[in-house]
Amino acid sequence: MSELRHVGQAAPRPEGADKLAGRTRYIHDIKRPGMLYGKIKYAEHAHARILNVDTSKAERLPGVKAVLTAYDTPELRIGFLRDNFALKRDKVRQFRDEVAAVAAIDPDIARQAVELIEVEYEPLPGVFSVEEALADGAPLVHETDARGRPLTTNRLALEFSHDSGDVDAACSAAAHVVEREYTVPRVQQSCMGTAGCIAEFDGRGNLEMLVKTQIPFLAQRDYARALAALGLADKSVRVIVPALGGGFGTGLDTHVYEYIAILLAWRAGKPVKILFERDEEFAFLSPRQSAVTRIRQGCDAEGKLLFRHLEVSQDNGAYTSWGATFPSVMLMPATSLYRVPNVRFESRIVYTNNTYCQAMRGYGNPEVTLPIESSLDELAEAAGIDPLDMRRINTNRPGDVTPMGLKIGTCGLEECLDKTAGRIDWRAKHGRQRALKRGVGMASLIHVGGGGKIYRSDGSGIILKLDDYGTVNVNYGGVEMGQGLHAALTAMVAEALGVLPARVVINQTDTATCPWDVGTHASRGAFMAGNAAILASDKLRVQIFEWAERIYPVEVAKAIARAGAEGKAADVPTGFDFESVGRERFDLKDGWLFVRDAPDHPVFRISLGKLLRAAHFPPEGDPSTVFAAEAFYEPPTQLPDWKKGVGNMSANYTFGTQGVEVEVDVETGDVKILALAFALDVGRVLNPQTLAGQVYGGIAQGVGYALYEEVKTDRGRILNPNFTDYKIPSAADIDFPIELDFIETDDPSGPFGAKGVGEPGLVPTAPAIANAIYDAVGVRITDLPITPEKVLAALIEKQRPACPGAPTPQPLMRP
């Protein structure tokens, strides 16, 4: 690769100065003329029949402009399985079900109006766990599916499974087998900027949605369906994405409140804003799915993995979002983290009367990496092999094709293992610090780094348009939510096209101006945008060089004449035939057009802006030109067959290893992280500053997931809807050194060799910590979060002498 000028530089993010100055406009900051404020009346039961909704008092409150219930609005079916409704008519299935909604001239009046709505219910028995939901005679959360066909079970008709090789035979042949169950809780994405939207119709009945989303184009399609249900099928929808105060997966679905804003705006004939307050965000926005995973793994006497078997149960809550498809991503680590020849993966996804769940960073991956990597340590112990060696023996390697059919191209896992081991001084410390109650642990990850095909298209379009001054306007449908997409894309456009980063302007994400993109998820943003930008830049360079072929002789002749007029003719090198330069000899760098073999003198260079302005006034008989190019990049991947769990879903795979050192206070159960190291195969560093920032942030979320975050519920009611009771890491919690190593494997599929790296930070953190705790004090915590209470209970349990009559602990089973 030729020398990179902008890619790889630690440039500050382009939108950063506005963020620092408080100038960035989030949905919170936007007001439209005449705008009303919407508020929603939520259910007061986890499961109940709605008998009556009385909105008369709310309607009479001065300042109220619209009140809606399911009885006076068309039915809007929404969600991944279309099992959810904008407003609930017959029954409520979770505490956050939307029963009515109000729009008023200010938020306080809207709030008061909601309180005046009276709803009569007939409570129904509910189900609040996978076991309850699947018990014989359990009440049904949904009596019918979206097409009205009767349902007989709470289990969703979504299948994600895999069975390759012969797991049973491998299990019998294995020298060592371990088995255990692991639990991960619901957690809240906790974006600092809460969710919100403004729905507005224009005089033609077209809808404009300003909305906090990561999927503007899928949202456009969803809203268009809603308009059709309102009898507005011929109207258009425009989705505009303001600055996002974090995303982390919350924007991968359209949400009920968005449809309610649309209904209210249509009814009131005014723009309507719905903005979540923090307690609403906790209680009424979907958290990350919880999961219970049973895992069995076995190896031969030398530690080579022979098989892996996972059974995952997911509590879906009352409705279905894209988050229900977590097992689609779980398949990847289940089948492909380390070499394992025989794999079985089974999953079941179950309706309950809990809050329904959605995506979060990592999308199923951390949920099963905890069991896989914890179990691997157990297996290493059973086999008498050092956990680092166990991982090295089984490491993935370039050229592998995994049981899922993932084609591993570049793979830096072995290097990541060694780097991390070195950073945390594994050989000197592992198993040697029990007296100090200190331990080290590690865990690795695999993740999609080249898109993740879980939808029919995994593509992204881009438009690059040059203005008269050589500024490139970039219209890209992906969403900047803090992850650094714009920083990476700026460098890549500058590099690929040949302009200065300061001349790259990324426009607001808007379905009216940007080409289609499937959404910003699966760590795909920079990977997709970069590949699309390279394609579009190549086209634009062709346009520029074609035009240069015509205008270059004219402009150079003028420049030489000017030099002559200034008495500098003698400085101009002679002998270069600038009159007939073929387009293939031109190049563009940092906004200057030049001929590769021309003498190094200013008269032979033309600034891009000058070249472009000249195009409005072409030589006689020459057609004028515009300079814009669009490109659509679709990665060379397969939509997997989910029942078989086979398909190469990404153009490349990211690998990494985290190592931690902890100290456990055996009096209190407190776990203190002393140091953390992370080596990550990123393909190529696009911007070391934003990359490190994104990875640090992921690690902090991983620490929260491991040690304290949990959405607590009681029979479906959320108990901790605030940051006092739901703790996320504060600055004082991340008080340990973090060492990052980025391994550059230069992946051929990636833009400039880069892989997607948005999610990996948090994937292996919890198992690395759990393994370190085991090393420190010999207890294995299998359910997150690893609270001091759980550690203390495990320590007490460990010390209890086995007394006669007490149930003997189950030996690790073999089937």
């Binding site: 620092l20 100055a21 408080g22 923090r278 605030n722």
Partner: protein, 165 residues
């Protein structure tokens, strides 16, 4: 019948005298954002838990979501907008955050920067752990705080070499 308890106040906001009519229980953040249109200050929780709404009142960092608007009568209030210098100039702390990659989504950033200015006013050379402890009231979900702490240390170093926060 509603009784009008509102009162007229005047205070200095980012160097200019401002007058406003406020309700007794009105929050300072609403006065700033909704009435005066200074939307740089953010509301992340409304409960005093996240620090996104931090502003300076007489140089002290306060959570404007808890601070009663009438109490700024006669006082000097500085928000993120007021830290910027002439034109588009960023203050040293803002510039250090930008150059150090200490902002991501940016939602916590105004509060984080304002808290930093207050911290450096009290402790011009804070250690990393002083910074972490001083910022426990400012939550950030994006950064893991690492580059924030580094940026604050670099700002402190620059300021001690001369300059105003």
């Amino acid at each position: 019948m509603t009784i009008d308890n509102s009162m007229q106040i005047s205070f200095e906001l980012n160097g200019s005298m401002r007058r406003a009519r406020v309700e007794p229980h009105e929050r300072l953040i609403d006065l700033l954002r909704d009435v005066l249109g200074e939307t740089g200050t953010k509301e992340g929780c409304g409960e005093g838990e996240c620090g996104a709404c931090t502003v300076l009142v007489e140089g002290r960092a306060v959570n404007s979501c808890l601070f009663p608007a009438p109490e700024v009568e006669g006082l000097r209030v500085v928000t993120i907008e007021g830290l910027c210098g002439e034109g588009l100039q960023l203050s040293p702390v803002q510039a250090a955050f930008l150059e150090g990659g200490a902002t991501q989504c940016g939602f916590c950033t105004p509060g984080m920067v304002v808290s930093t200015v207050a911290l450096l006013g009290e402790n011009p050379a804070p250690s990393a752990s002083d910074i972490r402890n001083a910022l426990t009231g400012n939550l950030c979900r994006c950064t893991g705080y690492v580059q924030i702490v580094e940026a604050i240390q670099s700002a402190a170093a620059k300021l001690s070499a001369g300059g105003e926060a």
